[in-house]
């Protein structure tokens, strides 16, 4: 047993060698929220002619900004920059190098404090009056909540695998709502980053392993890319956030922690154009979970199902939407096309 632990730790150490630094063109910034938390923001200037507003990219749960810039090839940030769009990545509080404030952090903090600060900072630095936004998974839920409560400064958005309802009778829900909630405290954290770091060397060691089954589809993402994501693209999950999502599983409601805000109901008031993207084999944000958000939105809105039956070369899982080998051509280009069609004319 001891030898196994030592081996895993040793392998994890080796795995760190593969961690990649940000490119020289990436500019590091810090934005301060209205409750005093400093957030990590990274700017990628547009390459060549500027063709539209800046794009702010936000990661999902248990993740950080590096999801949007894994390496030179698998980087939504660098890809948008190469298309003439200034791109910004952000790490929500408690992830990446952003501050981890004392006390409880919930999902509500992300849209109430973090996103407004990031939007204002990017608008100020770029000089743009409005931004475009891409949110993966919980990053999409954040923009749903933000816009549903009257959030400003985002002219168009795309959500990738973002659920608004997660009670579909699965055994994972049962495990989370009956057992998971008992071992998580609102002020604690789920140590998912450590788990990811320790198990990263095992990625690719077995075909059809549990990580492949849950997070990605080897048809679309290489085990090596996912291994690197686990090493430097993951973060612990704040206990309050985990409990809020567990409550979603139990009640079916997409609501604030104190239950006073029904985000799903308020999404009907959203008038910002939103492209809602789902992946057929997403086992974390199942297609009905993502479609629920699409149905709740007021519109204008568009639905995009990523599947071989719509022309992709492989089926996509949850993480394939951001680090998939062909995501630039099969997903991101469609997001950019949506943004271009909804770009507001600058005065």
């Amino acid at each position: 047993m001891r030898a196994c632990v030592l081996l895993v730790v040793a392998l994890s150490g080796c795995a760190h060698v593969y961690g990649q630094d940000l490119p020289p063109e990436a500019q590091l910034h810090r934005a301060k929220t209205d409750d005093g938390v400093e957030l990590e923001l990274t700017r990628y200037l547009a390459v060549g002619e500027v063709k539209g507003p800046p794009v702010l990219l936000c990661h999902g749960i248990s993740a950080n900004a590096r999801n949007m810039d894994l390496d030179e090839r698998l980087s939504m940030a660098r890809w948008f920059a190469s298309q003439g769009r200034e791109a910004w990545t952000m790490s929500l509080r408690g992830t990446g190098t952003s501050d981890k404030p004392p006390g409880a952090t919930s999902f509500d903090d992300y849209w109430r404090h973090d996103l407004p600060a990031a939007v204002e900072y990017v608008r100020k630095l770029s000089g743009a009056s409005g931004l475009h936004y891409v949110g993966h998974s919980m990053g999409g839920m954040v923009v749903y909540a933000y816009l549903s409560q009257g959030g400003q400064g985002i002219d168009a958005a795309a959500t990738l695998g973002s659920p608004t309802r997660i009670d579909f009778g699965s055994s994972v829900e049962s495990l989370m709502t009956n057992f998971g909630v008992r071992i998580v405290s609102p002020t604690g954290a789920v140590p998912s980053a450590l788990g990811a770091w320790l198990t990263a060397p095992l990625q690719g060691a077995m075909n059809d392993g549990p990580f492949q089954r849950f997070f990605y589809n080897p048809q679309s993402t290489s085990p090596d890319a996912f291994r690197r994501l686990m090493i430097y693209g993951t973060a612990d999950v704040a206990g309050g956030t985990a409990l809020q999502l567990a409550s979603m599983m139990k009640t079916g409601a997409f609501a604030s922690t104190d239950k006073t805000i029904d985000y799903r109901a308020d999404m009907a008031k959203v008038t910002t154009p939103i492209l809602v993207v789902a992946a057929r084999l997403d086992r974390i944000a199942m297609t009905p979970a993502v479609k629920d958000g699409y149905r709740a939105l007021g519109g204008p809105k568009e639905w995009l199902l990523i599947t071989r039956a719509n022309g992709t070369r492989g089926e996509y899982g949850h993480m394939d939407l951001v680090i998939g080998e062909r995501a630039a051509g099969e997903v991101w280009s469609k997001v950019l096309n949506f943004f271009d069609r909804h770009a507001r004319k600058e005065p």
Binding site: F168, G169, S171, R213, F214, R283, A309, N310
Partner: protein, 293 residues
């Protein structure tokens, strides 16, 4: 000890299920095939199984046998256009003509097991042409999603299942649409008529199917109030789960959902694997039997 072991083995072995079939004639003269599994002595209501358009009763065979072995009388109907039944030229006639003819023979109320779009039609008939006490639904979109590119092509091409059996490319398309990579056999299918394929495509494109009595499937969905257990197939590319869950959102019924994933259950389930996959008996059939008991 040996005798006890032998008794356990015998008890666990599948019993032979008595099956029979008969012809049912609809009001317009169309002949329909109706298959019975198990004896008619059961005190519980009969179970009526409707499998999806393009498939025949063999798709339901494992589930029908499973239930019959547990004392249920199960009827698997082949509606017009399916299996050995007469040709079909209208989806609406399945509701207005076929289901009344079948229930006249097997009696009411029934417990319904509905699969796919034909199952959706049967669910639209509940409370109208069909009196039902409980429903088990396998991927039944009563308000379908717009078709994927592959679905649109297949239906525009006349939903020719026979063409999918003719080549490796066809096998790949069948797998994508109905089995998501599973190597399940493609037997037990029949081409849809051009008219039915066009009607199904229009249903997917518009999200609703007008019926002859002035209502529509969607209008009937809003009034649907029969307790239902619904199985969702994450990998179902033919009747996707994002369309099926609208039953919970928009009907008045108590709807229990069950979903599976390859991560937690070893199986995502596609359109045919939910009824014929290797893990369907252990993950699904027991819940079906318990819900209907």
């Amino acid at each position: 000890m040996i005798a006890l072991f032998a008794a356990i083995v015998l008890a666990a072995a599948p019993s032979s299920v008595v099956t029979s079939h008969r012809k049912v004639v609809a009001e317009d003269g169309a002949a329909l095939a109706l298959y019975r599994y198990g004896s008619s002595a059961s005190r519980l209501p009969p179970v009526l199984v409707i499998v999806d358009l393009g498939f025949d009763r063999s798709l339901a065979d494992p589930l029908a046998r499973f239930l019959a072995e547990r004392g249920r009388t199960v009827f698997v109907a082949e509606l017009r256009g399916q299996g050995a039944s007469a040709s079909g030229h209208s989806l609406r006639s399945l509701i207005h003509l076929d289901l009344p003819a079948i229930t006249k023979v097997i009696g009411e109320p029934v417990q319904l097991i509905a699969h796919g779009y034909a199952g959706s039609l049967a669910m639209a008939a509940v409370g109208h042409e069909l009196q039902v006490s409980r429903v088990v639904a396998f991927s039944t979109p009563m308000s379908p999603e717009p078709p994927t590119e592959l679905q649109a092509w297949f239906l525009s091409d006349g939903a020719r299942f026979s063409s999918l059996a003719a080549s490796p490319e066809g096998a790949e398309i069948f797998s994508q649409l109905f089995a998501m990579g599973s190597a399940l056999r493609r037997g037990g299918t029949r081409d849809l008529s051009r008219a039915m394929a066009a009607e199904l495509l229009a249903w997917l494109q518009t999200g609703d199917l007008p019926l002859d009595d002035g209502t529509s499937v969607l209008a009937r969905l809003h009034a649907y109030d029969t307790p239902t257990l619904m199985f969702l197939g994450l990998a179902n590319a033919w009747a996707p789960s994002e369309a099926c869950v609208l039953l919970r959102e928009r009907s008045r019924a108590s709807v229990q959902l069950r979903s599976f994933s390859r991560f937690s259950d070893g199986e995502d389930f596609a359109h045919v694997t939910a009824l014929q996959g290797a893990s369907a008996p252990s993950l699904i059939f027991g819940d079906v039997e318990a819900f209907l008991r």
